[in-house]
């Protein structure tokens, strides 16, 4: 029978404001999930450990936490696999990151639900409801298949680098839900959605750290959804309003005119108003040779690229 030490983050604000850590030694069967192990500890050693859980089968999305620093769903994480991956018989268990702890492994998810609601995570079709259901082809549904798998476990928020730097960032799961509906052919609000999601703390806040894709236990790939939302914003013509979108435009112009990125275009394109104010920094960059020629950098066979840029079609 395997034995594991669980080093658990404890926070019991009723008795003390200071969090502490507590170790529990546990003998357990060899095919035990992290959630089962924690429940066994709760049952046999300390009934006061607080955590959220319900279905035990990766559907309810309640039991996300960190195991040795990695965000997991406790009911999907096998204790023996974690030990093997980290080469240790001790597992550190912590609440998910980027949210305030409420008690032990429970965090305050209110901001998560607020952000989720803010993206209007429901279908808003045009016109009157039809007499019968709206039929959607399998192909059209496949386009939002990944996003439909989200169980709102918040694992993707736990290590999101943009959220850590900007607590108001609407975040990966909410944006994935945004695409779930912006990409649904029955929805009539694509343009409004593109505007809604392009705001100050919206989709262009994402720094592409890829933690959300790495951690999502359901294969939603939220960063990919954010990228697709960027495409929606472009096609709906709402892409000039945000510096992030103008940044992307600079790439397109560069590639069309030369094939390679023209870095000198990036700054004035992205921040046409503030760029001239930053002259001292620009001068420094020029002195260090970090402001290359503003002329297009021409590659060989540029005509192929021009042809592709003109002819490759984008779908919704």
């Amino acid at each position: 029978m395997p034995a594991t030490t669980f080093d658990v983050f404890r926070y019991q604000p009723d008795s003390s404001d200071t969090p502490y850590r507590q170790e529990f030694a546990l003998d357990h069967s060899d095919k035990v999930t992290l959630l089962d192990a924690l429940l066994q500890i709760q049952d046999e050693q300390d009934g006061s450990i607080a955590m959220r859980y319900s279905c035990r089968s990766a559907i309810c999305g309640s039991c996300s936490c960190k195991a040795n620093g990695r965000t997991v769903l406790a009911c999907m994480a096998q204790v023996e696999e974690i030990k093997e991956a980290d080469g240790s018989d001790t597992i550190q268990v912590d609440p998910i990151g980027n949210f305030a702890p409420v008690k032990d492994l429970i965090v305050d998810l209110d901001p998560f639900w607020e952000k989720f609601r803010s993206v209007k995570p429901y279908l808003i079709p045009d016109g009157k409801a039809p007499e019968k259901e709206r039929i959607v082809s399998k192909e059209a549904m496949n386009k939002v298949y990944n996003e439909s798998k989200c169980i709102l476990c918040a694992a993707c928020y736990s290590e999101c680098n943009s959220l850590a730097a900007d607590p108001d960032f609407v975040g990966p799961a909410a944006l994935a839900w945004g695409y779930r509906f912006a990409g649904d052919e029955r929805d009539g609000q694509r343009k409004q959605r593109a505007k809604l999601y392009s705001g100050e703390h919206g989709l262009w806040d994402c720094t592409r750290c890829m933690y959300c894709n790495e951690r999502c236990p359901k294969g939603v790939e939220p960063r990919d959804a954010i990228e697709k939302l960027g495409g929606v914003a472009f096609r709906e013509g709402v892409s000039w309003g945000d510096a992030g979108a103008r940044h992307a435009r600079a790439f397109l112009v560069s590639v069309r005119t030369g094939g390679k990125l023209n870095e000198t275009l990036l700054v004035p394109f992205t921040n046409p108003v503030t760029a001239p104010l930053d002259a001292p920094f620009a001068l420094q960059m020029i002195r260090k040779g970090k402001a290359p020629s503003p002329l297009p950098h021409r590659i060989k066979k540029l005509n192929e690229v021009k042809h592709l840029m003109k002819n490759v079609k984008e779908e919704v």
Binding site: G69, R70, N161, S162, A164, A165, D166, F169, W204, D205, C206, T207, R208, C209, M210, Y211, N213, E214, E221, I226, E227, G230, G231, F234, D242, A243, R246, H247, A248, A250, F251, L252, S254, V255, G259, K260, L261, E263, L266, V267, N271, M285, K288, G289, K290, A291, P292, H297, I299, K300, K301, N303, E304, V305, H307, L308, N311, V312, E314, E315
Partner: protein, 295 residues
């Protein structure tokens, strides 16, 4: 015989961070690598074109892969972002023959060569930290880093998503540690080494980006690193070129010189300093390197 690669330096190393390109080109023959130029390769789009025009992103990147295929060699990169964009496109078409067919139709219509899906994309770090690279290094008998204390900084896109990158555990990367140790340096370990540098949003969301670069810069500083080293020129821009701005914005002092990975190797192998051109860095590494007797 030298190991041949189709060399894809990426736009930043070719233009604003020329010192990286020059160092890589000078280093390659010392490590028995032959870099074949790709004169018709475009920008990979850096995730920006993927965001704006996903099909165009895929086609442009497959076009680059096809050029390497025509040359009969795999692609070697020196930038995290290029590596992710090329590998992702490669994975997409390799796993979906119908998608490859569609992309090839576009390529052929534009007069470009279709791709058969036979090539791989490798970052120079992966090659060097692998068996072949390590034995080439050993054969060279590096003069060493004299105990220089180096903070490895990986950034994001060489590690995640691991389903696309897959070279090492994204939460416990060790490739740069292996190289630093093999070269006679000391590893300064710290938590922020695989967090984001903020570069993708630096121009659009400056303050947020600086809060992101703070995590690694402060971590390396607190781990008492002499220098930081990175395999990515975009991380280098965020960490070096924008470091003084980050200091002003965050009310912090980092004073952290940041080396490109090939520069670290160049120092250990005694490459000419003029080629590595540390004068192009915003935060000068000269003093740290002089203290260690490396310049």
């Amino acid at each position: 015989m030298a190991k041949q690669f189709a060399y894809y330096p990426g736009c930043v190393a070719e233009f604003s961070s020329k010192e990286l390109n020059a160092t890589t080109q000078a280093l390659a023959p010392m490590l028995d690598i032959e870099l074949l130029p790709m004169p018709a390769a475009t920008c990979c789009g850096a995730g920006d074109i993927a965001e704006a025009k996903p099909n165009l992103y895929l086609t442009l990147n497959v076009r680059i892969l096809s050029q390497a295929e025509e040359m009969g060699v795999d692609v070697l990169t020196i930038c995290n972002v290029c590596t992710l964009n090329l590998r992702r496109a490669n994975k997409m078409v390799k796993e979906d023959p119908r998608l490859l067919e569609k992309v090839n139709e576009e390529l052929v219509a534009a007069g470009a060569r279709p791709y058969e899906g036979t090539k791989e994309v490798t970052h120079m770090l992966w090659y060097l930290a692998g068996e072949e690279g390590m034995s080439a290094l050993e054969a060279r008998g590096p003069r060493g880093l004299n105990g220089l204390r180096v903070a490895p900084y990986y950034g994001c896109q060489l590690l995640r998503p691991s389903s696309v990158m897959g070279f090492e555990d994204p939460d416990k990367p060790q490739s740069m540690e292996r190289l630093i140790t093999a070269l006679g340096g000391e590893v300064a370990d710290y938590e922020g080494k695989s967090k984001c540098c903020g570069f993708p949003i630096l121009l659009a969301r400056e303050e947020t980006a600086f809060k992101e670069s703070h995590v690694a810069l402060a971590g390396a500083r607190d781990a008492r690193a002499d220098v930081m080293v990175t395999p990515c020129p975009l991380c280098h821009l965020a960490m070096d070129a924008y470091q003084r701005k980050a200091e002003a914005s965050n009310g912090e002092e980092y004073n952290m010189p940041v080396l490109h990975l090939p520069q670290l190797l160049g120092l250990a192998l005694g490459l000419d300093n003029d080629i590595m051109d540390f004068g192009r860095h915003m935060v000068s590494p000269e003093q740290a390197l002089a203290t260690a007797g490396l310049v």
